[in-house]
Subunit: 223 residues, 4 copies
């Protein structure tokens, strides 16, 4: 099996995730700013847990090559991506310490701890399968947004987000991760118990992505 | 420190949990039946993960006495409590296999995987602290319901729930668990970094309990 | 693949384990008593860690059926097998608390922590593969001993050990565990990376079994 | 409590470790070369597992500061120290792949998996306590060797080892790690159950260090 089998097995959830109202409003530039700020703060907390999951991938890797590959991801998360969010949020006077002190919302807890537990329970293949909806989905969302005629680039306050995730660097990184996942999946029959279990893991993580977008959207309705 | 310090440090969340609308409507007998059925099915899935957490407590126990104590809990969960839910739900034609095949809702994932990850990350004290809001809270809810003049016993379709959690057997079991937790906490200064960390774990687990009630309530609004 | 592929891939180590001098001397009744007592005390500590590994199998099981299966093993270990060793050692005035306070020897640490780490790193299949050499090997040793004309039953101070592991109850229990392992392995190609990794896990655990016998033998030379 | 309490509680084991015959022969330049080569190959495998333990420290760290601190150690292990061993062993025509394919000896398995399991079972303090005998001991050995009049520097084939571990860079790195450990231990009473448990963890890891030296020494007697 490969990554496409995982996506095919949860088409409805995948569409709900990659074409969520949060994403469409972000593309159109109509997303309420409180939703975006809430999302960024929660995504900061998400990335911290995500870095823990890649640390687990170092622990679970079968050899030095695999350990070094996962190390690169931990590095990118702790040094680049988290720094990006901190820089962005600093315009509202928020420091890294402020952001780390924020309470994790339910969707953030659900998604991140699901990935960590699925990865701890299973082996490295389960872990990378649980991690996959995030990267694969964001890359697809980036491509969908730039291809959509509902997307507004000029004057869109979220255009830097669109640029980041549709950009060559992010797309290439995800393509490499996708190839790595495919190599891990290649000996697994999609109809075997293991194949079916991985499908459940991917589907559940995708459902948690939907909840993560939704909590961003809800933030502007609550306050 | 002891369990009361944990509760005192998150009074607002604790009140939101133990006095949630779901609980009050259950006590008054006005809770929509779809909410209750949704809750039971999710609680079945919750108990399965909870049994995994007590299995982790066997793994993390410092000695044979601690291992045997946690084993008793795994036993009670897998043999008694899960069986209770299955029996109850069988009146709607549901089998254990049906219930195990249900998708976990976001609140269920959030709460259970938080407990499992907090327990895996920390030691046995962290694990029992993350597990505590469930038992301590249900015992308090049981006591609050029987003491409240808003509670209706006769003709209340949920009276067996009230009986179960206000009953002597459940209350005594929780009292023993509470004493065990207090013995684990007794050397920890509430103001030490460790004490403050345990407060965060307890508070977060309590917040996830609130989300768990809320998803039950939402179930009757959605469908 | 199945359990026989695992054994076939480490024939020399398997023979060294199942036909170790410790075992032969035990069968002939010539094993020095200090070696046997040292072995029993270390095996007590081994069983405690082994129970932790089966607790991990509850945590890692994919469904309630798998959780209950592993629970049965934890039960048998904590209630029956450990009790057996305690009863046996009580003739030297040792209590369970005395035995739990013994220091773990290097071979005991190596074997048990290898199983626990291999199981935590991998999934439930890795865990049961790491656990397999113990049960499969003891069953084979029991059969080899009763079939060997070098074995002395009458007057052999270790005859109860031979009876236990060659006995119908133990042999049937192992046969069930072997069938369970075979069902877990059946979709895995012995030549796939996963198949080859499981072979390494089984082989390493087998090598640690050899070290465990050797430390028992060494005990009578040291003191 | 602090790191010195840990050492004080296992004086005999600590002396056996830091003044082991392997170390003394290395200092005198009389260590058989097969012992040294065996040690280096096993130490390469040890460092790989040690890097997994520091990856676990990223997973277990309470905040971003702690995660980044542990990341630095994973980096140093995977990029610098392992590279050093590979470079050294290349004079015997060994590649990194050759070294990774070596079988782990019993002492290597015992020590590394003990650290990993103690760290997984406990929290970050248990993990750093299990990791401590290695760094603290090597720093002490480095200092003892350069201070001893039995040590021969000139013409000693192992002088680069002495230089490395007595050197300013290594000594300062260990001093920082020691201060970090002391900060983790400062709220723990040495006589509390937790303090006594940490002493057991440190002592057991120290005993496994002794076994690690011994297996190096044994290597020249076996072959």
């Amino acid at each position: 099996m490969n990554h496409q089998d995982l996506i095919n097995a949860c088409q409805a959830d995948w569409a709900e995730y990659t074409q969520h109202a949060f994403v469409k409003q972000l593309g159109a530039g109509t997303l309420p700013q409180p939703s975006y700020l809430h999302y960024l703060k929660q995504d900061f907390l998400f990335l911290k847990q995500y870095a823990r999951a890649y640390a687990l991938a170092i622990y679970k890797a079968p050899n030095l090559t695999g350990m070094r590959k996962a190390l690169t991801s931990v590095h990118a998360l702790l040094d680049s991506e988290i720094a990006h969010h901190v820089t962005y949020c600093s315009q509202w006077g928020l420091t890294e310490a402020d952001m780390e002190a924020e309470a994790e919302d339910v969707g953030t807890v659900a998604y991140t701890r699901y990935v960590l537990d699925a990865g701890m329970t299973g082996d490295i293949v389960d872990l990378y399968t649980a991690l996959a909806p995030c990267a694969l989905g964001y890359a697809e969302i980036g491509r969908l947004l730039v291809a959509s005629n509902e997307t507004v680039r000029e004057g869109n306050p979220y255009d830097s987000w669109i640029s980041l995730y549709s950009g060559e660097e992010f797309q290439q990184g995800v393509a490499q991760g996708r190839d790595h996942l495919d190599s891990l999946l290649q000996d697994i029959d999609v109809n075997s118990p293991r194949g079916q279990h991985l499908i459940q893991v991917f589907k559940t993580a995708t459902r948690m992505e939907v909840a993560f977008w939704q909590q961003g959207l809800n933030a502007s309705q609550e306050g």
